[in-house]
């Protein structure tokens, strides 16, 4: 009774995070298909699944925002939660854009870069996984220090891998235009861990503000 409104928002946030997870899983499947089997006719259908899950996550976030504006939480906390959700919500958007970019621009990774690129994708997905756990911690009373520390380390790994990959792409004998396209994909992939780091920064700020 006392905290019906708050409980309903907590449940919605949980559903939202599960939805983003669904998007993350579909993204992983989709990107592997787009890299390893770029000509597969089923790719648009798989991408459509990524799009649908991203769109559902977006709807859920908007509904949480509306509910938050209806007097749940004190304004200061409301701002923190809204900010966190908005920065986190950029990540499924990035998953989707990356898939569209690969499909629409018909980008094909040469064999020698495929595994390395997929490894970069996994590192960036890991940064999302970590920051998601940390956000859950704020909403569900768990310690988040381990996750937030790791986000930095993973983001740094991703930066190194990005630079190495770009250097090797430009050292290869590909067409210059293809090199530029691949570079863009690599940079956009690395942006996921940058965004995870932004979410982590906001999270830490929210925690510090509540320190007694």
């Amino acid at each position: 009774m006392l905290w019906k409104k708050e409980k309903s928002i907590i449940d919605k946030i949980k559903t939202y995070l599960d939805q983003v997870d669904r998007c993350r899983n579909r993204f992983r499947v989709c990107i592997e298909r787009l890299i390893l089997e770029p000509e597969n006719a089923e790719n648009p259908a798989i991408l459509e699944e990524v799009h649908r899950s991203e769109s559902k996550a977006d709807d859920l976030r908007r509904s949480i925002e509306l509910q938050l504006y209806e007097r749940a939480l004190i304004p200061e906390s409301r701002g923190d939660v809204l900010g966190l959700l908005e920065t986190l919500d950029a990540i499924p958007g990035m998953f989707q854009s990356l898939c569209y970019q690969l499909l629409l621009e018909k980008i094909t990774f040469p064999d020698q870069f495929r595994e390395r690129y997929l490894h970069l994708v996994d590192v960036n997905i890991k940064s999302y996984d970590l920051v998601r756990e940390a956000v859950l911690g704020l909403f569900f009373s768990k310690d988040v220090k381990a996750q937030t520390d790791l986000v930095d380390a993973v983001e740094s790994d991703s930066d190194h891998m990005e630079r190495d990959l770009i250097r090797d792409i430009f050292s290869s004998k590909m067409d210059k235009a293809d090199k530029i396209l691949l570079k863009e994909i690599v940079i956009n992939t690395g942006d996921i861990s940058d965004q995870a780091e932004t979410v982590k920064d906001r999270l830490i700020l929210a925690i510090i503000k509540r320190k007694i």
């Binding site: 708050e6 906390s77 909403f139 509540r210």
Partner: protein, 308 residues
């Protein structure tokens, strides 16, 4: 009967001003609707006045032997002082105005109980010091408890929301118990009211002030206090309520405004930041000296012109 009107006027101005210290933060941070806040405030003020208001009434009625005329003049002088200061936008204490007014009449009639006065003045100085100490103790203690609970952002907010509401209700109770003496205490000695009637009329008029005219002050005070984080604001209101209630039990009417200033200074000490400006401290000092002096002069004049 008309002589009671000055007491009601006094209670009304007290309620319209001091309820801000109690529910300002909760209302301004939108944790509770203004209407709900003033209703809670009114109910708890009356309950406080009825259950624990008599001790303060005895102290005030013991300062000077009152007649119906002197009681009327004292209340009117105190209410005029508070209103004048409010027009000048100076936050003042009704307790200090009332004691000043009673003294003014006492001087004119050559009868003052100095031992009672000493108790009152010590309590004034002890009020902000008391809330500083209460804040220094309560902040780490409740903070430790809160950490122990490991609340998430939502449950923590809920804790603070209800904390602010409960501290507000307690503050209203303490206000009623402590300050009702300022409003109708003088009428007991004259026999115009018995203790129960005085508590009911005093509490009721404070409640009326809270319900009808407290919004602007509440928002102003809330804006100031809300600059503190919600936890600090909760501790500030709770410390204020605790100290004002303690003085209600001892039987000395004190200022809730000065009590809350002490709380805010306490938070500043703990957090290592300056929460209070020199101007605010000067206002506290003015409350101890200036307000009773002005009320004393006004009461002296009113009583001399009308009844002496």
């Amino acid at each position: 009967m008309y002589r009671l009107l000055s007491g009601i006027f006094m209670g009304w101005s007290l309620g319209s001003n001091d309820s801000a210290n109690i529910f300002g933060t909760a209302v301004f941070s939108k944790k509770i609707r203004y209407r709900t806040a003033v209703i809670l405030c009114a109910v708890f003020v009356i309950v406080g006045a009825l259950l624990e208001g008599r001790a303060g009434m005895h102290t005030l009625s013991g300062l000077v032997n009152q007649t119906a005329d002197s009681a009327f003049a004292a209340s009117l002088a105190a209410a005029l002082t508070v209103t004048l200061m409010s027009v000048l936008k100076l936050p003042v204490s009704t307790s200090q105005a009332m004691v000043g007014a009673i003294m003014g009449i006492g001087i004119l009639r050559g009868q003052i109980n100095f031992s009672g006065l000493t108790k009152v003045v010590i309590a004034w100085v002890a009020t902000p010091i008391g809330t500083i100490v209460a804040t220094l103790v309560l902040y780490p203690l409740i903070g430790w408890f809160l950490r122990l609970l490991r609340l998430n952002i939502f449950t923590r907010d809920l804790f603070l929301k209800w904390g602010l509401i409960i501290a507000g209700c307690y503050g209203a109770y303490a206000l009623g118990a402590n300050n009702v003496a300022n409003v109708t205490g003088v009428y007991i000695q004259t026999g115009q009211l018995n203790v129960l009637q005085a508590a009911l009329l005093g509490g009721g008029s404070i409640a009326l002030g809270a319900v009808t005219y407290s919004k602007n002050v509440m928002i102003t005070v809330g804006k100031k206090l809300v600059r503190l984080d919600p936890f600090s604001a909760f501790i500030a209101v709770f410390s204020m309520a605790l100290v004002v209630h303690t003085f209600a039990i001892i039987g000395v009417p004190v200022s809730t405004s000065q009590a809350i200033i002490g709380s805010v200074v306490g938070v500043g000490i703990l957090k290592g930041v300056q929460t209070i400006r020199i101007r605010t401290l000067l206002l506290v000092l003015f409350g101890w000296i200036g307000t009773p002096s002005i009320a004393l002069a006004i009461a002296y004049l009113i009583f001399r012109l009308l009844f002496h």
